[in-house]
């Protein structure tokens, strides 16, 4: 069966892909159109129930919740893309380096990775906020740093397995240098494993970003963010409980979509199905 046929038949991949596409499309659409401005404060219209004008109602300042949710998607994607790219690039570089050099380089990289786990993203964000003040950049740096050892471990593990394969032996026998082998043979062969990890870390980044914004350590108002919206909604829990539902569902659907996409990718890229178990490090939230 071709890869595209199997992709269509894989339920996780199909559902996850659709949800992820919806997330990206919402963010893209919000760049050019939202039903109303998410920044438009209209206090007399505050805490409205959902209606034809305000599809998801209004918040405590009369802003349109639906428009805020749309723009909030941009925010989650922005943080996720930058933070995961930082982790992917630095972590993969360190991981393949460790697999190539072995010896003390590998030892040093892995000890550094172990050590970084002593500082979960929230602790890093707290330290940066205490020094630099709250802001979206803190959450990006904190989540980015947190992602580095995760990608380093995954890249090292898969790269070491590829180094044992016959075609790498052949390339070495043919006199190719180790850097050339890493670029031509190792990297392309660990891309599929890395792509699975990217979707999962993207999902985790969205969760982390929401938590940091909720705590007031991440994205700052008036920039709409899903975590911040839940913080505001909690203050109105008795008057307008429905406000606490929409941003939470948005986060849940985005994370669910990316996780399912990751699961589906793993199944598709590993047709023997021997690694159906979730091999990724568990989410730290």
């Amino acid at each position: 069966m071709s890869l595209s046929a199997r992709a269509a038949g894989n339920r996780s991949f199909a559902v996850g892909g659709l949800l992820t596409l919806a997330l990206l499309a919402t963010a893209a659409l919000s760049l050019v159109w939202t039903p109303l401005s998410p920044y438009l404060i209209d206090v007399p219209q505050k805490l409205q129930l959902p209606s034809a004008r305000h599809w998801f109602g209004t918040d405590s300042l009369g802003r349109d919740v639906f428009s805020m949710l749309m723009v909030g998607a941009q925010n989650s994607i922005l943080v996720g893309v930058i933070a995961v790219s930082v982790g992917l690039l630095l972590g993969t570089a360190l991981g393949v380096l460790a697999a190539e050099r072995r010896g003390w380089v590998e030892e040093a990289v892995m000890r550094l990775a172990d050590f970084t786990f002593a500082f979960p993203a929230i602790l890093l964000a707290i330290m940066f906020t205490a020094v630099l003040g709250a802001g979206i950049v803190n959450s990006i740096i904190a989540i980015g740093i947190f992602n580095v050892p995760i990608f380093a471990r995954v890249a090292r593990g898969s790269a070491k397995a590829i180094w044992q394969r016959d075609f790498v032996m052949a390339a070495r026998a043919a006199g190719r240098n180790r850097l050339g082998i890493t670029l031509v043979h190792i990297l392309p062969n660990i891309l599929s494993v890395l792509s699975v990890q990217v979707t999962i870390q993207f999902a985790n980044a969205i969760l982390w970003e929401a938590a940091l914004s909720y705590l007031g350590l991440g994205t700052q108002p008036p920039q709409p963010s899903w975590g911040r919206m839940l913080n505001d909604a909690q203050a109105q829990l008795f008057q307008a409980p429905w406000l606490a539902l929409f941003p939470g569902f948005a986060i849940m659907l985005a994370v669910l979509g990316l996780n399912l996409l990751g699961d589906g990718l793993r199944d598709l890229l590993d047709p023997r199905g021997t690694r159906r178990a979730i091999a990724a490090p568990p989410a730290r939230r």
Binding site: F117, P120, A130, V131, A211, P241, A244, R285
Partner: protein, 316 residues
Amino acid sequence: MGRFLLQRLAGFVATLVAASVVVFLVLEVLPGDAAQVMLGPEAPAETVRALAHKLGVDRPPLARYLGWVEGMATGDLGTSYAYDTPVGELVAPSLALTLPLAALAMTLNTVLGLTLGLYAASRHNRLGDIVVMSLSQIGIALPTFWVGILLILLFAVALGWLPAGGFPGWSAGFWPALRALILPAVALALVQGAILARVTRAAVLDVMREDFVRTALAKGLSPGAALRRHVLRNAMIPIVTVLGLQLSSLLVLTIVVENVFSLPGLGHLILNAIANRDIVVVRDAVMLLAAMVVVVNFVVDLLYVAIDPRLSLREP
């Protein structure tokens, strides 16, 4: 075995020292002038100098670092700038909330995750398995703080069974204090339990495919006995790994959940300290949390060997 323990102990101490250096560098050296950060950019130079002297930050960095480490070793955590009280007196009561909360959440998580995971594995590819796996897929997509808010909506706002937040203190009696921790612990345990259920199921199914399990079944051992005697012990390594990671996650996640339920724990202390620019408190509390994470990782390393003694012979 002795060499293994020594190696691990050395690694543990080295990690703690490295963590303290990072905390010190980020929170004390990076901002340049801690006194200026605390007082804000508009503070008069005279006041900044006076506070710098009072905090001791006008001394060279190495002397300050050694003084800080010595203080931590002897239990003297410095003085909070905002409250003008010893940090130890702020941290101790907050830990009396955070540690029981994390312990309660960990217990609920373990019971929930192991039960659901074992059940799903025993019903592999049947209805029960599919239901548990679908629910856990949703569970791991939920932000913990949103689960907390939903629990408040249901059990405090709608039903009025449990308090929406706040903590009466252990002096108010065991039950009233515990009542205040139930919803926060459930919020933490639901999400982590979903992760644990998936890992448990996967680990058990992996071991059940092994030859020695087939042999055990072939020689007539009942499935229950094979599970107890052969499968569980071998599935324990990934499960213990995840439990260790979850305990450190739970300790850190209490920061978020304490905020949802307005509980005066360590996380609450840290966020207030940030708002007050009270760097001394942030430094000590962050170090304390990082140290707890390092200790948990160390204990998990030792547990591996208790579960599978072969591991002490292998290269790390």
